[in-house]
């Protein structure tokens, strides 16, 4: 399904629509861009209909775990006060301002216009439901025309959201295009890229590398790649921190960029690492049991895996692995490398004395995202600054590693700043 000019079209219409798109975009760009106020009030209205239950059927149909939290989060993110706060945080006091520079005496001031990049192509990933619509909303609020290439795994939620938004504010129709082009149709994606001033790409390294190959060298690339996160525990770890960490690991299943892949302990002593596992494993397993999968296929998968593990251990003549069940496990390693765990409740535990933080984390500098930090109060600032210098972009409590924190940057950047440009106009003498 394609969304263009506020209407749905069959996917087969893609080439026809793309052929007329350049002319259509030129017409749109000839008009003033929608103001943040126009977009914000439409999004705010949409948020209220979500709150009133207009999308409950669709949200239920997704069968998400924690659908209610998901809805609550969406309602919060769509509110006027939140959007205004985001704009203020990312773009400055009055969003999208027209202002004059104030140079030292004797130099002429310049007029500065904050303006949209123009046309943004969003190449969205399918790793979070509704994320493609969120990406488009960021493009809209900065006044851009948005072309969205849906991920293959899209379940229709993004299209529904964007259509609803156009219902709230029909003037946005010229600023939203959605294509369900498969990633294999490079020719079509390249045509969209050629029409765009910026390409926002979400996804793994393959997706990012592919975009870099076909994009014009002058096109601005805004890349939201996949990341790795970890927990750093120093000093005595309170019981509550263990419970928070277990809940984070089990509820995110370690599938998010911000999910803990490695638990680092501030020690070089492997005995201390194993001691930690003895203490943490029961907490983790308890949490895993509480959140046990309910679907038949998932239960069956666990039963089969458990049976296979049991027979394999039997053939090896060994006891079952320590800190291990089909639901979750702790995997102790003596090296320090930050790496992906097997996920789904199976987390790596490694030693990392704080003196080695920089050298170890720099090895993965392209991937660093969140560090969940738990330490003594007197060490907090020192460890925080050390993690910052190593390249970590987000430092949180263990509990909030994957929480959406109001006003936070995205992988070290304010996205809205990437979607605008600063235009200088030299004032003419009267």
């Amino acid at each position: 399904m394609i969304l263009a000019n506020g209407k749905r079209y069959e996917s087969a219409m893609q080439d026809t629509i793309l052929s007329g798109l350049a002319a259509k975009l030129n017409q749109t760009l000839a008009k003033p861009a929608p103001t943040p106020e126009l977009v914000i009030s439409a999004i705010d209205k949409l948020g209220r209909t979500v709150e009133a239950g207009a999308f409950d059927a669709q949200i239920d149909a997704l069968q998400l775990d924690g659908a209610q939290q998901y809805k609550a989060l969406a309602i919060r993110l769509l509110r006027r006060d939140y959007l205004e706060f985001k704009l203020r945080t990312e773009l400055g006091a009055d969003a999208m301002p027209d202002r004059y520079t104030e140079p030292p005496a004797g130099l002429a001031p310049l007029r500065v216009l904050t303006r949209p990049l123009g046309v943004l192509l969003h190449i969205a990933a399918g790793n979070a439901d509704g994320l493609p619509a969120f990406s488009v909303a960021e493009g809209l609020v900065t006044g851009n025309v948005n072309l969205l290439k849906l991920p293959q795994a899209d379940n229709g939620l993004s299209l529904t959201i964007l259509e609803a938004l156009m219902d709230m504010e029909p003037r946005l129709a010229d600023y939203i295009y959605v294509f369900d082009t498969p990633s294999s149709d490079l020719a079509a994606i390249k045509r969209m890229a050629d029409l765009s001033d910026g390409i926002v790409v979400w996804g793994g390294e393959t997706a990012v590398a592919a975009v870099r190959r076909f994009a014009h060298p002058g096109t601005k690339l805004i890349e939201w790649g996949h990341r790795l996160s970890f927990a750093y525990l120093s000093g005595p770890v309170p019981d509550q921190a263990l419970a928070d960490l277990a809940e984070h690991i089990i509820t995110t299943q370690q599938l998010l960029c911000s999910s803990c892949q490695v638990i680092y302990l501030d020690t070089a002593d492997m005995e201390a690492v194993r001691g930690f596992c003895d203490r943490f494993y029961p907490v983790l397993e308890g949490m895993a049991l509480q959140h046990q999968p309910k679907t038949m296929g998932a239960v069956a998968a666990l039963t089969l895996r458990s049976r296979t593990d049991h027979l394999e251990a039997l053939l090896d003549g060994r006891a079952a692995k320590p800190w291990h069940s089909p639901l979750c496990s702790l995997i102790v390693r003596e090296d320090t490398a930050l790496e992906l765990s097997p996920m789904l409740g199976n987390v790596l535990v490694k030693p990392l004395p704080s003196a080695q933080i920089i050298e170890v984390l720099r090895e993965k500098k392209q991937y660093l995202q969140t560090a969940g930090l738990c330490c003594r109060a007197e060490d907090r600032e020192r460890l925080t600054q050390l993690l910052v210098r190593a390249g970590v972009n987000r430092i949180t409590s263990l509990k909030n590693m994957s929480a959406s924190l109001p006003g936070e940057a995205h992988d070290g950047e304010y996205p809205l700043r990437r979607y605008v440009r600063m235009v200088n106009v030299e004032p003419q003498a009267q």
Binding site: R227, L256, V299, A300, A301, T308, E312
Partner: protein, 373 residues
């Protein structure tokens, strides 16, 4: 191996009631053999407190320790020295680890008997020569997958006038040559002799779509058949609706629904399941299927979905007596075709579907490994 020979030379491959006692004694015979000759199998049976002599009645089959097929991917389990085995088949391993399953000469002989009986029942054996189009791999010494062997084997049912392969071995690699296949179809449609297709359903579907798009329609000679198979994967609820598939076969090739026959089997359970006129896969006398509760692994009644436990005494070289693939399935009774044995429907694979992730490298990892939660 006496009881197995008796079981595999029965005339009616679907008279389960009559062969019940024989089936149990054939499993007991095979189980005793594996217990004696496969040390790993003995370890498992001893640990679970199961003795082959426990197998006396049909109900006792449920007590036989179940080996997940995943175990064969992690460990090589054989009851005979590998050098004595004429065939060692590797399953097409999507998980990176391929299982290795060995077959003895007598195992293959039993398999041949089974194939002949099943195909005779479905009237697939004929002295009338045929042309063959194989939607699969041209046989080659380097290709050890079970699928290529089956596809070639089926071309032996009747004298073959010609064989055309969709995947041709060319200068050291396989190339998909659907053009040659289409040409062969058009040529053979004018022949006096029937044409038989064998192989993966997806290729057949692709080819028919291509012919339809190009407006190439033929009426194949009487007795022509489309035989589809390729492994458990195709057992699943398919992307293409079967009625749509049949309608296209009628339109493009002039084949009736009854001329379309489907086969299924798996390396870890090499029993030939052939569909009936209603396209149901009845359990033949060479195997029994138990559906087990997904949590407790206790057997559940027919019409209740669960994990699929496949039991057969066919293979002596590898302890494949009671295996469990990563599938969810259900047994049904009362097929209008008249066969009294129940039929198996595979509902899908175990595990969480559609795992979404944004952790770096995770997508690639999940694609490589089969994630079971």
């Amino acid at each position: 191996m006496k009881d197995r020979s008796k079981l595999f030379s029965q005339a009616d491959p679907y008279d389960a009631a009559k062969t019940e006692a024989l089936f149990v004694s054939a499993v007991r015979e095979n189980c005793s053999y594996a217990y004696k000759h496969c040390p790993e199998y003995k370890t498992i049976l001893d640990a679970e407190g199961f003795s082959p002599q426990r197998l006396q009645r049909i109900e006792d089959l449920a007590e036989l320790p179940v080996l997940p097929t995943a175990l064969f991917k992690r460990r090589r389990l054989l009851s005979m020295p590998r050098r004595r085995l004429p065939v060692v088949v590797t399953s097409s391993g999507t998980s990176g680890h391929a299982s290795q399953i060995g077959f003895a000469v007598s195992d293959l002989w039993a398999g041949l008997m089974m194939v002949l009986r099943v195909c005779k029942t479905r009237r697939l054996l004929s002295a009338r020569p045929c042309h063959y189009v194989v939607f699969g791999y041209q046989p080659n010494r380097k290709n050890r997958t079970g699928a290529s062997k089956t596809a070639f084997g089926v071309t032996l049912f009747t004298p073959a006038l010609s064989r055309t392969y969709a995947l041709r071995w060319d200068k050291g690699s396989y190339v998909l040559d659907l053009k040659a296949v289409q040409q062969a179809i058009v040529t053979h449609s004018r022949s006096r002799f029937p044409l038989r297709f064998m192989g993966f359903p997806s290729y057949a579907w692709f080819l028919m779509k291509q012919m339809d798009a190009q407006g190439v329609y033929v009426k194949l000679p009487k007795g022509s058949k489309l035989m589809l198979g390729g492994g458990w994967k195709q057992f699943y609820t398919e992307e293409v609706d079967k009625p749509v598939f049949y309608a296209l076969a009628k339109k493009v090739l002039g084949l009736e629904e009854a001329d379309i026959i489907e086969f299924y089997g798996a390396v870890e359970h090499p029993i030939l399941y052939c569909d009936c006129a209603y396209h149901h896969f009845h359990v033949p006398i060479y195997s029994r299927v138990l559906i087990r509760d997904v949590q407790t692994l206790k057997p559940v009644p027919h019409e209740t979905p669960g994990l699929v436990n496949l039991i057969s005494p066919m293979v002596f070289a590898t302890p494949l007596l009671s295996v469990m693939p990563d599938d969810l399935g259900v047994l049904h009774d009362g097929c209008p075709c008249g066969l009294s044995s129940p039929y198996l429907e595979i509902l899908g694979r175990v595990g969480l579907q559609d795992i979404k992730t944004c952790a770096a490298g995770a997508a690639e990892l999940l694609e490589q490994t089969e994630v079971s939660l």
